[in-house]
C-alpha cells in the first residue's frame, strides 16, 4: 500500500491543467495582447496594471476567506471608504485647505495606518461575531456593514479629505529599487500572508474544514465561531489596508465614491480564481490569477481602445464561465 501511495504522487499534467485552467486563460490573453499591442509587456505598463489592481487584489485576498467559509463579505468596499477617510483625516498637515480637524497636528503616516487597520479589525470583529453567534446569513450581515460603513464615512466627513502628508503617501508612492512601487510590494506581502495562513497554519485548515462541512468541523473539535470571527476580521483588515493605500495613492479620500463596488470586483477575482461559493475550495494562486486576469482585461481593453462597456461584457462571461468550470470540477465531490 505504501508503494502505491508514493508512486501516485507523480506529476499529473492533466490534473495540473484542469486545476490551473485560469492561468492558461491568462497566458493566452497575455500572448494575444502582446501581439496586437506591443506596449503591453513594457515595464511601465505592467507597473501601471499592478498598481491599479493592487488594492482590489488585497481585498480579494481577504474576501476569498469569507467565501471559503461559505460566506461572503459585501462590506469591504465601504470599509475601504471609512478607513480611507479616517486615516486621511489624521495625516493632513496643519494649515492645508479643507482640513477636517484644523487644530490637530498630523500623525506620522505609520501611526495613522495602524489606526485605520485597527478600525478595520474592530469592524470585522463585530460583524464576525454577529455572523458566528446569531447565524444570520453573511450576505445580510455584511450588507449591513456596507450600508453602515458607507454612512459612517459620509458622517465623518461630508467632503473629500485631501492634502495628505508625504510620509503617509509613501505607502503607495514609494518605490523599491526605484522601480517596484510599494503598493505592489504590500499587495505581494498580503498575498504571501494569506497564502501562508491558508496552507501552513491551523487557522487555514480549520477554515477549509468549516467551509467544507461546518458540522463535521465542529465535531472534530474546531471552534467554528471563533474561526469565523477571525475570517471576518481578516477580510476587514484587508479592506482597511486597501483603504489606507487608496488614500495614500490618490492623496485624497472621498467618502461617497471611494471603494464603491470594490467588493464586487474582489469577489469576481476570487471566483474566477476558483474559490467555490459552496464553500471549502480555494487556492491562493487561483485568486492571484483571477486578479491578474481582471487586470489584464481592464488594461488591455484600454490599450486597444475598446469600448469600456465591452470590458464588462467580457468580465461577465469570464465570471460565469469560471463558475461553470468550478461547479463541474467540484460536483462529483460534494
Amino acid at each position: 500500500m505504501s508503494n502505491t501511495l508514493a508512486s501516485k504522487r507523480d506529476f499529473d499534467i492533466k490534473k495540473f491543467l484542469s486545476q490551473n485552467s485560469i492561468w492558461l486563460v491568462l497566458v493566452i490573453m497575455v500572448i494575444g495582447l502582446q501581439i496586437v499591442s506591443p506596449v503591453f509587456l513594457s515595464t511601465n505598463n505592467l507597473r501601471t496594471m499592478l498598481e491599479g489592481e493592487s488594492i482590489k487584489g488585497i481585498l480579494a485576498f481577504g474576501i476569498m476567506w469569507t467565501i471559503l467559509s461559505k460566506g461572503i463579505d459585501l462590506g469591504a468596499g465601504s470599509i475601504v471608504a471609512l478607513v480611507s477617510v479616517i486615516t486621511a483625516s489624521l495625516v493632513q498637515p496643519i494649515g492645508v485647505a479643507n482640513k477636517l480637524f484644523p487644530e490637530m497636528a498630523a500623525l506620522p503616516g505609520w501611526a495613522a495606518a495602524i489606526v485605520g487597520i485597527a478600525i478595520g479589525a474592530l469592524i470585522g470583529a463585530i460583524v464576525g461575531t454577529i455572523i458566528a453567534y446569531t447565524k444570520i446569513p453573511p450576505f445580510i450581515a455584511t450588507l449591513g456593514t456596507q450600508l453602515i460603513c458607507r454612512a459612517l464615512a459620509k458622517i465623518y466627513s461630508t467632503q473629500p479629505v485631501s492634502n495628505l502628508s508625504p510620509d503617509f503617501r509613501i505607502f503607495a508612492k514609494g518605490k523599491l529599487f526605484e522601480i517596484i512601487p510599494s503598493i505592489v510590494i504590500i499587495f505581494l506581502i498580503i498575498f504571501a500572508i494569506s497564502g501562508f495562513m491558508l496552507t501552513q497554519t491551523r487557522f487555514g485548515k480549520n477554515i477549509y474544514a468549516i467551509g467544507g462541512n461546518d458540522h463535521a468541523a465542529r465535531v472534530a473539535g474546531i471552534n467554528v465561531e471563533r474561526n469565523l470571527i477571525k475570517v471576518y476580521i481578516w477580510s476587514a483588515v484587508c479592506a482597511a489596508i486597501g483603504g489606507v493605500l487608496l488614500a495614500a495613492r490618490t492623496g485624497s479620500a472621498d467618502p461617497s465614491t471611494y471603494g464603491l463596488n470594490y467588493e464586487l470586483d474582489a469577489i469576481a477575482a476570487a471566483t474566477i480564481g476558483g474559490t467555490s461559493h459552496t464553500g471549502g475550495v480555494a487556492r491562493i494562486s487561483g485568486v492571484l490569477a483571477g486578479i491578474l486576469v481582471l487586470g489584464v482585461i481592464n488594461n488591455g481593453l484600454v490599450l486597444l481602445s475598446v469600448d469600456d462597456n465591452m470590458s464588462n461584457v467580457i468580465k461577465g462571461i469570464i465570471i460565469v464561465g469560471a463558475v461553470i468550470i468550478d461547479m463541474r470540477k467540484n460536483a462529483a465531490k460534494k
Binding site: 502505491t4 501516485k8 497554519t201 480549520n206 472534530a220
Partner: protein, 498 residues
C-alpha cells in the same frame, strides 16, 4: 427468451474521471421476484442502479426494460416508465410537509393551482395502503429517520411501478418496521412487481430474496437463486476470499473506571442516565431508533446541552460545553452521520485524518509530519485510497470510516465513542472495523459503542446499556446478554433493581 425478464442490463460500463466504476456488468431481473444485489461498498451496486434510473448516464451498455431498449434521461422519466428507487441517502425537503414530499414534482392540479385537498386525501389513502400512521401535514423535519424512510417507501409504492429499487431500505428501521416493510414487499411481489433489493444485512437477504447477483470492484461475479447460496458462500463471492471471524473479540483485562456518568439528562431526549465505563471495556448502547442513545453520546461529547447530571473522568468532574473541550479531555467521537458531521468531503484523506489534532503540527504546520502520520494510519488501518491527496468523498464508506477512526486515534483518546460505526459499510470493512475497535479496547482505551444491529452488540460488547424512549432500562453483562433480554429492555421492560 427475453420475455422471461422484466429488466435486463447488458455490458454496462460507467467511467468517472480517473475511475472505471462499472466494467461491463450485467443484471437480469424476473417479474414478481425480489432480486438482491450484493457486494462490498464500491462494488458498483448503487452506481448500476443510478445508471438504470437516469441519475448517471452509462458510458456504454444496453438496458432492456419490459422488452424495449431504454435510456432514461432523469429519474422522473424512469418513474413514469415504472421504475422507482428508494435511496440509500435520504433527501427529503425537511421544511415541507410529508404530503408535499410524497407528491413533489407531480402535484395533482386543478387548472394551474395545486389541488391541496386531493393531495392530502391521496396521501392518506396511500399511507393506509402501506400501513403508515402519519399526518400528511406533519413537517418532514419532525419525523424520525425511520418514519422518513417509510415515507420514502410509500412514495415509491405510489408510482404503481412494475419495478422498484430499494437501496438499504432498512438501515434506519426498527425490527417491527422492517417486518412491516417485508409485508409490503410480499404484497408488491404478488402484484408481479419486480424488486431490486440492496442491503448488507445477510439475514434480510436470505429471508426475502429469490435471486442474488454479486458484484465486486465494478465487475459482475455471479448470479444464482437464493436457495442455492448460504452466508459463507455469499461472503466468499463478495470479498473474493474467505472471511475471518465477523466479531473477533479479544478477551482483555478490564481496568479501573475512566468515565462516570451520574443522573445525566438532556432536555426531552433522555433523562437520568448513570453508568461507569472502565479501561479496556466496550460498553454498547442498545435500543430502538429514537431511544436516546446517540443523544447521550452527543451530550458527553459536548454537541448537546446537558440539562442535569454530572460527568466525571478519572474522578474529576468535567464541564464540557463543546467538542473542543471533549477532545482536550481526550474523548473522541465517531458520529453516526458520516457525511453530515464526519468527513469533510472536499478535503483530502490526509487533511481529514489530522483535522482534530492540528495543534500537534506546530506553526507553520509541518506538512511532512502530517503526511507521515496520515500515511502511517492509512497503512495501519488498511485504508484503500489512491493517494493521500485524494478527496475523501471519493473513497467508499468503509474507507471513509477508517479514516475517521484514524482521526480519533491521532488524539490518543482515553475514551472513544463510536456511533453506528458499521452502518452502510460492506461486510469486509465491517469486520475490519470490529477488529480495530476490539484492539483499541485491548490497548486499554474505554469504548462506548452505539449499534442498532443486535448481532454486533452481542458480538462486541463487554456490557450492554439498553435504552427505551429516553430512559435507561438496564445494563447487561456480556455473559448474560442475549437478544431476547436486550429486546425486552429495549421495548420498555425495566431490569429488576439489584
Amino acid at each position: 427468451m427475453s420475455e422471461e425478464y422484466v429488466l435486463e442490463m447488458h455490458d454496462i460500463v460507467k467511467e468517472f474521471p480517473g475511475v472505471k466504476a462499472l466494467k461491463g456488468v450485467q443484471l437480469k431481473v424476473r417479474p414478481g421476484t425480489v432480486h438482491a444485489l450484493m457486494g462490498e461498498n464500491g462494488a458498483g451496486k448503487s452506481t448500476l442502479m443510478k445508471c438504470l434510473i437516469g441519475i448517471y448516464k452509462a458510458t456504454s451498455g444496453k438496458i432492456i426494460f419490459q422488452g424495449q431498449e431504454v435510456s432514461f434521461p432523469n429519474t422522473l422519466s424512469a418513474m413514469q416508465a415504472g421504475i422507482s428507487m428508494i435511496h440509500q441517502e435520504l433527501s427529503p425537503v425537511m421544511e415541507r410537509s410529508v404530503c408535499e414530499n410524497v407528491w413533489m414534482g407531480r402535484e395533482p392540479r386543478k387548472g394551474i393551482r395545486v389541488d391541496h385537498k386531493k393531495m392530502r386525501q391521496d396521501c392518506r389513502e396511500l399511507f393506509q395502503k402501506v400501513g403508515l400512521d402519519l399526518d400528511p401535514d406533519e413537517k418532514m423535519g419532525n419525523l424520525t429517520v425511520a418514519k422518513m424512510q417509510m415515507v420514502e417507501i410509500a412514495k415509491a409504492v405510489s408510482f404503481d411501478s412494475s419495478g422498484g429499487i430499494m437501496d438499504e431500505p432498512t438501515s434506519a428501521l426498527t425490527e417491527s418496521e422492517v417486518e412491516h416493510l417485508f409485508k409490503i414487499i410480499e404484497d408488491l411481489k404478488s402484484k408481479n412487481v419486480a424488486i431490486i433489493y440492496i442491503s448488507h444485512k445477510m439475514d434480510e437477504i436470505f429471508r426475502i430474496s429469490d435471486e442474488i447477483t454479486v458484484y465486486r470492484d465494478g465487475e459482475y461475479i455471479a448470479s444464482d437463486r437464493a436457495e442455492n447460496l448460504n452466508i459463507d458462500k455469499l461472503i466468499t463471492l463478495m470479498v473474493g476470499r474467505t472471511m475471518d471471524k465477523m466479531f473477533p473479540k479479544i478477551e482483555c483485562p478490564i481496568g479501573e473506571t475512566v468515565l462516570k456518568v451520574e443522573g445525566l439528562s438532556s432536555g426531552r431526549a433522555f433523562h437520568d442516565v448513570s453508568f461507569e465505563l472502565r479501561r479496556g471495556e466496550i460498553l454498547c448502547f442498545a435500543g430502538l431508533v429514537g431511544a436516546g442513545r446517540t443523544e447521550i453520546a452527543e451530550t458527553i461529547f459536548g454537541m448537546r446541552t446537558r440539562t442535569a447530571g454530572k460527568i466525571y473522568k478519572e474522578g474529576k468532574e468535567l464541564h464540557i460545553k463543546c467538542p473542543e473541550d471533549a477532545i482536550s479531555n481526550k474523548i473522541g467521537m465517531l458520529t453516526e452521520d458520516r457525511r453530515g458531521n464526519g468527513i469533510i468531503g472536499l478535503l483530502s484523506v490526509a487533511e481529514n485524518t489530522v483535522l482534530a489534532n492540528l495543534k500537534k503540527y506546530g506553526f507553520p504546520l509541518s506538512h511532512s509530519k502530517i503526511r507521515a502520520d496520515a500515511s502511517d494510519f492509512v497503512n495501519k488501518l488498511n485504508v484503500k485510497t489512491p493517494n493521500l491527496e485524494t478527496p475523501i468523498a471519493n473513497l467508499s464508506g468503509g474507507n471513509q470510516q477508517k479514516t475517521l477512526v484514524a482521526r480519533w486515534l491521532l488524539i490518543d483518546p482515553d475514551i472513544l465513542i463510536v456511533d453506528e460505526p458499521t452502518r452502510g459499510i460492506d461486510v469486509g470493512a465491517k469486520a475490519e472495523i470490529h477488529s480495530l475497535i476490539t484492539k483499541l479496547a485491548a490497548e486499554g482505551k474505554a469504548i462506548i459503542m452505539i449499534s442498532s444491529e443486535l448481532p454486533e452488540v452481542l458480538g462486541m460488547a463487554d456490557r450492554v446499556l439498553v435504552m427505551h424512549e429516553g430512559t435507561m432500562t438496564g445494563i447487561v453483562d456480556r455473559e448474560d446478554a442475549t437478544s431476547e433480554i436486550i429486546m425486552k429492555y429495549a421495548t420498555g421492560e425495566t431490569a429488576p433493581q439489584s
